[in-house]
Symmetry: C4
Subunit: 251 residues, 4 copies
């Protein structure tokens, strides 16, 4: 295997598609959002990307068949813009790996004619959320303006530590290649997998790209999580207020 | 030295051999199994693989002569299928190293005509085992079926975190190269070196590959371990139940 | 992106300029000093250096526009020597990265005709400072003599552990390339961002390079820090002497 | 700078020289031994080896002049065999670095006609030592025999964990190149810098290579350390037996 190996599964013609990335991160917001699109819309697996920057690992399916860790691109045609969805179970495991893989992801996207990039993720607030705002960062001021119109919030010096990983680099390296790139970051406590935050991010994306997706299954998962949160809050009241450390951080 | 250096020790003609890997891992199950085959059957050292991905280390033999850390291939002719055994004292020390070494191991195996790969290892249960099941994962459904017939268990979403290291990659990269590949993972507490688990794995392998091996010496080692376990359990009852952390995890 | 990418923003002719480096380090002394020069003097951004040795990260500006992590060179013409200022938010993240980036920084500086290098930084004393001495280390004895005349102190076996990171390598690799190179290290507690130490370093640099800069804004920041220190000392007296560990080390 | 840079300082003709390595390690035994030879015998600095595998660091001399971290080769002509001494303040910082640097060290040694290699070091016993035995490991049985005659002890499965770092690799890679290579490891508590252990190692080396060196200054350093040890033992008796952890391990 080469350091990075792009496997062509199928070739599909897309009309002016946008790249939508949802790899694991804070609250698994981006991953939930991308996987929801793949569950609800009719997508075609077009590329797999293998890399020695991923963990040396196979995942075992329910049939006992193992698949080497990879990232996948699916093509989806929608009533609005066509989508190229980037999803997977892992981020790169080193700094150089993040740069190398993001460059590869952008190369693949450009093959499909992509010039517009949306990296989906979460931004941790450290407390349970009432209203799920979506924060943004973008490659240039035109994109900021366009996204502001769609309801994205741009706040001074947020997120405080910058944006790290593939999402940050799709914005940074994508911008340097001349693409219109943006991060859409759903607010999330950061403590739990957060389907509500994923829905908030997708509602913005729907608006911006004029496609339509049903949120029924995502709302069900959100209800399940609500129950978990409810139980935790009950326990907090009964016992003597456990610290935040008792909740497991999903990073 | 190059990054990876394959030293030819001897050239041997094998008839349709299978690769059997037993490098260190959980409960040292794979390593015990591979070394038992080398102890009991008449093997020939055919290749040594040196790599800067191994620890920078020599092992000193009883005669005071030091050998640079490496992995070794032995060829064994059996009444059933011929075997190419991969053993050694170390795994790679980095992600990239795991990928690079596994590619090299597959290259060497292909030189000998291998198209079928068995990676042996353990799967930790976290508690002492009564009955030693062997779990499986495979590169395709035909192999799953064949191994199920031989008594291997394939369980939904087990092992939970996937299979990591050389064993996982022999399955993942081997599968991508078109080989029939499988992991055979003996259940083991994970706390102690586990000869019983190694025997359970080898009994399956015997069945699948139609060779025969005596288990006398492995049973002796198992009896020794039983005594150790007995003493630990005695101590647990006398003292006030030490936590699992008091048992050293052999990973 | 290549492993290191030097982006030309503007070309400027400088007369026998000196390189002045102020990347993050102990007490942020070097960074504060470099940024003060950029704030007070009229500089031109001439180069950006991107590298996969920097964190995979974008910083988000107040306008919501994100910039890929990089180091920047600004050219400044002064009444004394012309300056080429190297600043940024990050050091490299690995040993090899430090070497590779420092080589690139020296290559860029040589393009502008630099033969003289000043790496600015702090040296931690572990206690609050009354008088801010500036310690030095240099590539040869002539530079030691010249800087001694300007008030820099050279003390036997200080700093004890050598000088690490880009500052150390600019001296070491710069010296090997035949440049006159020096580190100017302001004494600082190491516990807090230290504008007074930065001013002490800049006063030496002014003297050596015959330029002039106003210290008003740096003194204001120093007054703010004094207030913080005053409050900490008050707390120390009221409570029962917290250990140094209670003060956050800025490294 | 390249990844590894060998700087020629002077060219010297040596008669059938042996390489003697003393880089930092357990008890600083090897480093003390090599530096003692450089202090007592008339050596010439012949090569410096720079590498991005060393820490990104300069050491500052008493004159304020900084030197980039490197390893040095000195040539020494003795009444017995000529010596090529490899010394320095650092080991490589990664596995690959250890391999790469050791290969370079052997390349340099071969330029001078070296076919025999002695890696000096310490082996930790975990307790204060009465009699300083020197343990050995070698590339082949002839060397084992020769060193046994000189008083080196070869003990079954010692050192238990193998020999790591440059010393181990000089033996392992040196042996693979066909050199006669050996590690001479002075027993040492491992808790303190140990001049007595260094002397024990050098006495063996003297015997094997027929050179002569005065031990006066090393004995003085040993007496100083004895005083330190005496004080520690006094404290142990007065106070209630501190654990070994109170003694700083010099690794």
């Amino acid at each position: 295997m080469n350091e990075v190996d792009v496997e062509t599964i199928e070739d599909v013609e897309l009309q002016d598609p946008v790249l939508v990335e949802g790899l694991p991160g804070v609250g698994h917001v981006g991953k939930l959002a991308a996987e929801h699109l793949l569950d609800e819309l009719d997508g075609t697996l077009v590329r797999r990307v293998y890399s020695d920057q991923f963990p040396p690992q196979v995942e075992v399916g329910d049939d006992g068949v193992a698949e080497l860790t990879c990232a996948e691109f699916h093509a989806i045609e929608t009533v609005g813009r066509d989508l190229l969805i980037l999803s997977g179970d892992h981020q790169a495991q080193s700094n150089e790996g993040h740069y190398e893989l993001t460059d590869t992801f952008l190369d693949v996207a450009e093959e499909f004619g992509v010039t517009e990039v949306y990296a989906l993720g979460g931004v941790p607030t450290g407390e349970l959320i009432e209203e799920y705002d979506v924060l943004g960062a973008a490659s240039d001021e035109d994109v900021v303006e366009r996204l502001t119109d769609a309801g994205v919030e741009f706040r001074e010096s947020e997120p405080a530590g910058g944006i790290v990983g593939v999402s940050g680099l799709l914005l940074g390296l994508g911008g340097r290649r001349g693409h219109e790139a943006a991060c859409l970051m759903g607010q999330t406590s950061g403590y739990l997998v957060d389907p509500k935050s994923a829905q908030a991010v997708l509602e913005i994306l729907q608006e911006v790209l004029s496609f339509e997706v049903d949120f029924g299954s995502l709302e069900e998962r959100a209800d399940e999580m609500e129950e978990v949160i409810g139980k935790i809050q009950e326990m907090e009241q009964q016992q003597n207020v456990p610290s935040d450390d008792d909740l497991r951080y999903i990073g």
